[in-house]
Structure formats: C-alpha cells, structure tokens
Amino acid sequence: MNNENKKLVLELKDIHKSFGNNHVLKGFSLKLYEGENLVIMGKSGSGKSVMVKCLVGLVQPDSGRIMINGQNIITMGQKELDFLRTEIGFLFQGSALYDSMTVRENLEFPLRRHKDKIENFEGTEAAVKQALESVGLLNTIDLMPDELSGGMQRRIALARALILKPKIIMYDEPTTGLDPITANEIIELMRNIQKKYNTSSLIITHDVDCARVISNRMILLVDGINYAEGTYEQLSNSSDPQIRAFFKN
C-alpha cells in the first residue's frame, strides 16, 4: 500500500520503556497513515500492550517522541491530552466495560464532558442508539455488562470507543478469548467501521487470521524493536525463521 500521499496521523519515534531491569521497548518506531489498518504482531509479553498504552498516555515512555495529529503527547498538558483522547477510540483486551453501569450508561460516559466535540450533535440518546446500531446491539441498551456474552461485550466496548467519532481506533487484542465465529464477526465489524467512518486503525494482535483479513501493513515487534515491516503477503512469505514463526499454524 502506497502511503506517500496520505496524511500521517500518528508517529512513534525511538520509544524506550523499562520496568526495573526489564527493557520492554528498545527504540520502537512506527507511522500510521490516514485510513490505514496497521497491525502490530508480537509474542505475548513482547511489549505490544505497553506500546499502545504509551500511545494514549496511560504509560509514560522513558524516552522518544509520540506525535498524534502533529501534537507531541508527551509534552502535552492534562487538559489538552484529555481533549486529544476524544480523537482516539480504544478497544481494551478485556472490553473494560464499567460493570456497575448499564450498556446505555457505559456509552453515555464518554459523552458527559465532550458533547461539544461532536458536530451536529442530536442528543445523547440518539448518539448512544446510533453507536449501538453500528455494532448491531441496540436491543441490549438497558442490560448490564454481566448479562452479555464475551463477544457482545467486545462489540459494546467497540460502540463505546466509537461514540465520540474518533479518527484513530486502537484495538488491543480484539479477538483474543473469542470463539472463531465471534472473532470473525468482530473482524468484519472492524472492517465495516473502517469503511463507514474512514478511521485509521492500529491493531495489536497475535491472531494471524485477523492480521490477514484486516491489515494494510504489518509490523512485527520482537525484542522491543520493529523487527520487520511489510504487507501480510510480504511477511508471510519471508524466509527469515523468526518472521515465519509468526505465520505457522
């Protein structure tokens, strides 16, 4: 995929992060372009989740630069960071729905402080219903999260991530823990969302099928650095045994 003419929406440059003596990220860099689906693959414990948490300011990197829409989030004040976060949707690995709130309240939550961010805002109720419709779960609006299956919870979490109409969506292991059929439904949903809202997506996964279907470009994170970069076809046909190991079934 040629990204030369596309707008750069997110850039990580030379990110280092350690926890005690454990050096998780050792100069990791990436670029995400407008409308692109970028998949990051790596072994469990390779620092994928730490990297994505650095991107939204949940974890502070030791050094490096993180630019989102041209703004460096490391040097940003809390208020500016909170506003910038409304441009980013985040799907957590375990869905992270607020379990003391109904589905409706879960979706209303991000709107409490940022209604003004949505153009032509037609009201909270309409926004919630629209987001639920986009994941096909309008009928669950008054249910509690523990009344939903794992796949439904993931879809509701996706609806919550979409409610502020973000330009970038980050998916942390979107299909982990789901059966193959539900995983395929989630992947299909992610593709539809990308088409409908023209979002740029950063997908952290070790699900090869998910990567094959959804990626425009892939980065392999090994030992804290970007070990390899390319399309799914390029990487899956590589002769490098470390790269091939990711694509073995």
Partner: protein
C-alpha cells in the same frame, strides 16, 4: 542477618507507603476544588454508603446500648449509683463508643467495599478506560468516594448514638422502671457542647481516613484477583489502626481545649 534485612525492608516499605498515601491525600485536596465537580456521582455515593450502612449501624447501635446498660447495671447498683446510669451511658456513647464502633463498622462495610470495587476496576482496566475516554478517574472515583464517606460518617454516628441511647433507655425502663422522659431529660442535662463537638469533629476525620485508605488501596491495587483481595483486606486493617490513632489524637486535643 537476612532476617534483619527483611525486617528493615518491611519498615522501609511501610514508610514508603505512608509517603505515597500522603501524596494521594494531597492530590485529593488539589482535585476536590477543581472543576468539573462530579456532583451526580457524589450524591450516588452518599446514598449508597449512607443507605447501605444504615441498617447495620442501627442494629449494632441498639445492641450496644442494650448490652452496655445491662453489663453496667450490677456494678452501679452495688455502689448505689444506678441513678447515674443515663449520664454515664450517654457520655460514654456520645464521646467514645458510638463514634469508634460506627467508624469500625463502616471501615469494614464501606472501606473494604471501596478497596474491592476500585481494585477490581483497576485489574479489569476500567480505570484506564475512563482515563482514555477523557474523564479524570481520580476525580470521578476517588474524590467523590472520600468526600461521600467524610460527609456520611458523622450522620451515621449521630444515628448510631441515638439508637444506642434508645436501647439503653429500654433496659432502664424495663429493669429499673425509669420512664423514657426522665431518662432522656437526664441524658440532655448531662451532655454538653464539649461532649458533642469534639466527638462530631473526630468522626469527620474518621470518615476521611476510611475513604482515603479504601480508595488508595483500590486505586493502587496489584494485578490479579489476589491483588483485589489484598486491597480490600489491607484497607480494613490499615483503616482500623488509623482510626485508633486518630481517636487518640482527638481525645488528646479535646483534653487541651475542653478539659474533658
């Protein structure tokens, strides 16, 4: 040698935790005056904490009043001082037993609840999700809970004290034939400003301690279900210890100002 190192490390960790908790309390005071105020969540927490602890406080308070009077009666009778019963019971309950018992109940009921709730929110990434959605989780979860316990505990103590006195009056009425009017007249004759004010002020500090330790333990909970259990458990243990320290300081200070 290794034993002494481990002991020194534990002391070091203990003081490090006190330092962290002090910063946590400092952050509370910094955030509590800042807009936006989470009033709806504050009211919800006040309702939850007050309403859910009320029955427990009423039952416990009533039994304490009843038992305390029954246990004290024989001794006072031996000394021919049974007519002092309402005065003795009211001063003991209002100054000390009521606030401490209700605070300990709330440390178990509210403090451990807050520790477990925030701890489980932490390990299931709900707190991270809140932060990513542009809401300050410290303000929404911590400030509202500490403030709610600080507001509700004095009210619960007043209810607990009142019910304990009712329990005591019932025993006196049944055992000694003392009318309720006479009993409560004696109670109000005995109680003075110096009994009620310091006792009420210290419950505000008790409430703050319960909220602070519960939220601190939950918010900084270690990963995993063991971490949630630890957060809930240590919240109660630390709070109970802290309540007695605060009580000691409060009595000491009251003695200076009111010569109790």
């Amino acid at each position: 040698m290794s034993k002494s190192i481990s002991f020194l490390n534990r002391i070091k960790l203990f003081f490090a935790e006190i330092g962290d908790m002090t910063f946590f309390a400092g952050r509370f005071f910094k955030e509590v005056f800042k807009k936006p105020y989470e009033l709806k969540e504050l009211l919800r927490q006040c309702y939850n904490m007050g309403n859910r602890s009320l029955l427990l406080v009423i039952v416990t308070g009533f039994i304490i009043g009843l038992v305390f009077t029954l246990q004290s009666r024989p001794t006072l009778t031996d000394f021919g001082a049974v007519s002092w019963m309402p005065s003795m019971i009211s001063v003991s309950i209002v100054r000390e037993i009521g606030p401490v018992i209700v605070a300990l109940i709330c440390a178990g009921r509210i403090g451990s609840g807050i520790g477990a709730e925030l701890g489980s929110m932490k390990v299931t990434e709900q707190i991270d999700a809140m932060e990513v959605s542009g809401t300050n989780p410290f303000k929404y979860l911590v400030v509202t809970r500490i403030f709610a316990v600080t507001l509700m505990l004095p009210l619960l103590v007043i209810v607990g004290d009142a019910v304990a006195l009712v329990g005591s009056a019932m025993v006196e009425n049944m055992k000694g034939g003392v009318s309720y009017t006479l009993y409560f007249n004696k109670v109000f004759d005995t109680l003075s400003f110096s009994d009620i004010l310091p006792a009420t002020v210290k419950t505000i500090f008790f409430g703050f301690a319960i909220g602070l330790v519960g939220t601190y333990k939950g918010y900084n909970c270690a990963k995993g279900t063991v971490g949630v259990g630890d957060a809930s458990n240590t919240a109660v243990v630390y709070t109970s210890m802290l309540l007695f320290i605060i009580d000691f300081i409060a009595v000491f200070v009251s003695d200076i100002f009111f010569e109790i």
